[in-house]
Structures are given as C-alpha cells and as structure tokens.
C-alpha cells in the first residue's frame, strides 16, 4: 500500500482529494524524478510547484551564481543569496518548502559531454534555459533518450511552451528547424522580461510535468501555446511532427549531439554582470 505518513497525508490532502490524483497519484508524484534545467525565471516557479506537489526527486542544473538582477523574477533566490551558486540557494528554498523532497544539484553547464548522463535517471525534463544552443542540445538529447521534455521560452511580455514526447509528437526542431544566428533574437538580458511572465510559463511547465507523471489530461504535445501578456491573450497553434526532422524524423541526420557555437550565448551571469558594471560606470 501507500507509504505515507500522517504528515504527508495532511500536506498533500488537497492533491489527494482530487479525483485525478488520489493516493495512487500522490505515490506516483513521490516516486517521480524531474530534472529542472536552469534555476532561473522559469525553473524557479517550476521547481517550487513540483516540490510543493510532492515530486520525490528534483534535479536542478545551473552553473551560475545569484545576481541582484535575477531577483526580479527568479523567485527561488533571496537577496541574501546574491553571490552564492543558484543550485545551492535553490536546494535551500525547495527543502525549506518541503523537506520530504530529495533535491539533487548539478552545478554545471549542460553540454554534449554531460547531458545524457544527467538526464538518464529522470522521468521528465523541464527546460528553463536561457539560450538557443542549450535548448537545441536538450531537445536533441531528450529525443535520443526518449525522455519527455517540457519546453518554454520567455522574452519581454511573451511566452511560449510545448511538451515534447519524442516520436509521439513534434520536437523543438520540427517547429523551429534551426536556431537563429547570434544576435538576431535578443536575450532577456538585452531585451528585458517581465518577471511575472516567467511565473506564468514556469508554473505551466510544472503543471505539464505533473500531468505527465500522473498520466492525466491532455498535454501540450503537438500544440504550441503562446501567451501575450500585454494583450492578456493565450493562443495555441498546431504543431505537427516533421517526418523530415533532422533529429526525430524518419531518417534522422543528427545522430550525435551537436553544440551550436552561438556567440551571444554567454553564461547569463557573466554577461549580465558586465552590463551592470557598465551602467554603474
């Protein structure tokens, strides 16, 4: 039967009472392992809600340290955390919220050399990265490993997200076959981002991950969800799997992980730090 303590039953009572969750679903959450890549704008709310929901193991990947300019949206971190590794402040915040969750931290930048090892033990991957090269790398790795990937991107007042179930629906490359050249699409650091848009999209990612774990509802597979915060409007467009997709198509041409060398993909903290120093001068 279920291995819940009295305290767990109280903590998760609002979950368990839901027809779609129940004791069985709560046990699925407890047994689940979710990897959140990036402990930033998207990763913060995603990881918070996953921990709150009782996801048993949460992995956090981030190589950065907390910067004052992060706190406008990265709600895992506190003012007193400035200068400390994001994985450490994330682990502290998640454990404080729910000590029953095992948090595993990876203070590293995801690359072709480590991504397969890191994602291997996880059931669901949540993409909260801030650049195209890691986004394509993670997409390709999840397709190759057959791992569901909940992808989201944010910029200014806009958000987009989709859930990639390898071979059941389109992957990121089916929809956007190639990353833009450096400098064409600005980063949040260059173009700005409203903090709450990260909250909306990251929270949606947590929801998708929970649905995937429970096996309930309809995931955003084959649908691209777009949120325009200025207009206050959600819309969704159909996204089909491309049989000619270089990574998930019928005859894939990308069979080994590639890393795009996109010049603008500086580690966020480095670039943000230098920009702020410029302003101070």
């Amino acid at each position: 039967m279920f291995r819940f303590t009295e305290e767990e039953i109280r903590r998760y009572s609002r979950n368990i009472i839901l027809q779609e969750v129940g004791g069985i679903g709560q046990q699925k959450l407890k047994d689940a392992k979710v990897l959140v890549v990036g402990a930033g704008g998207l990763g913060s709310p995603a990881a918070f809600y996953l921990a709150a929901a009782g996801v048993g193991t949460i992995g956090i990947v981030d190589d950065d340290v907390v910067d004052l300019s992060n706190l406008q949206r990265q709600i895992l971190h506190r003012t007193e955390d400035v200068g400390t590794p994001k994985v450490d402040s994330a682990a502290r915040a998640l454990s404080a919220l729910n000590p029953g969750v095992q948090v595993k931290t990876y203070r590293t930048r995801l690359g072709a050399g480590n991504v397969m090892d890191i994602i291997r033990e996880y059931d669901v991957i949540v993409d909260g990265v801030d650049n195209f090269s890691t986004r394509y790398l993670l997409n390709d790795a999840c397709v190759m490993a057959g791992k569901p990937l909940v992808d989201a991107g944010i910029l200014r007042w806009d958000g987009m997200m989709m859930t990639i179930k390898p071979r059941e629906g389109p992957c990121y490359r089916c929809i956007f076959p190639e990353p833009p050249p450096p400098g064409v699409i600005p980063s949040c650091q260059e173009a700005g981002v409203i903090g709450a848009i990260a909250g909306v999209m990251g929270t949606l990612q947590a929801l998708e991950a929970i649905k995937l774990i429970l096996g309930v509802g309809e995931t955003l597979t084959g649908r691209l969800l777009l949120f325009d915060a200025l207009e206050g409007r959600f819309r969704q467009v159909n996204a089909a799997r491309d049989p000619n997709c270089p990574v998930c198509g019928d005859h894939p041409t990308i069979t080994e992980l590639v890393e795009y060398d996109l010049a603008c993909d500086l580690p966020f903290g480095v670039a943000a730090g230098s920009a702020e120093r410029k302003i101070e001068q």
């Binding site: 650049n131 195209f132 991107g153 944010i154 076959p177 699409i185 777009l226 325009d228």
Partner: protein
C-alpha cells in the same frame, strides 16, 4: 480582402507598437509583401538572403502552420488570421 496579421513583440518596433494589423492579400506571400510595403524592414526579418522564410520564424494561418498547408502560396481570405511566431529562448 483584409487579413489580420498578428505581429510578434519582436517586430512591433516596425509596426509602431501595433500587435495586430490588417493587410490585403490573397496568399500568404501577398500578405507578407503588403506588410513589407507598409512597414519597410519586415521582409528582412522574415526572409533570408536567398529569399526563403527564415527557419526560426513560423507563419500560421488560422493557427495552422503554413508548412502543413501550401507554404507561402497558401490562400487566405477576408477575416483570416495570419500569425508570425519567431522562436524565443529566454528562460533564466
């Protein structure tokens, strides 16, 4: 025939901040050409040097990807909605 064009945030500097503009055209290509003549600069953002639509920008007619319809030759009619959706990668 006016088609409603949804302009992404990243192109709104060219449309004077407007999120939606109405332009004439009977195909996707005509609508995009009309958009360029009214808002010069749009074409360079949507097409590459070889004249192909950029691979990180998608065009949807009534929420369907034109790649699954007739590409730029996809016919459009009065009241249709054409959405321009570039990839965005921010997250941290």
């Amino acid at each position: 025939m006016a088609v409603r064009v949804r302009v992404p945030v990243l192109l709104r500097n060219l449309t004077g901040g407007q999120a939606e503009v109405a332009v004439e055209g009977s195909t996707v290509a005509e609508v995009l050409a009309a958009l360029e003549s009214r808002y010069p600069g749009v074409r360079a953002r949507l097409y590459d040097e070889q004249g192909a639509l950029r691979r990180y920008v998608n065009i949807y007619v009534n929420d369907k990807d034109i790649r699954t319809l007739g590409g730029e030759a996809t016919p459009v009619k009065d009241g249709d909605e054409l959405a321009i959706v570039p990839a965005i990668a921010g997250g941290r």
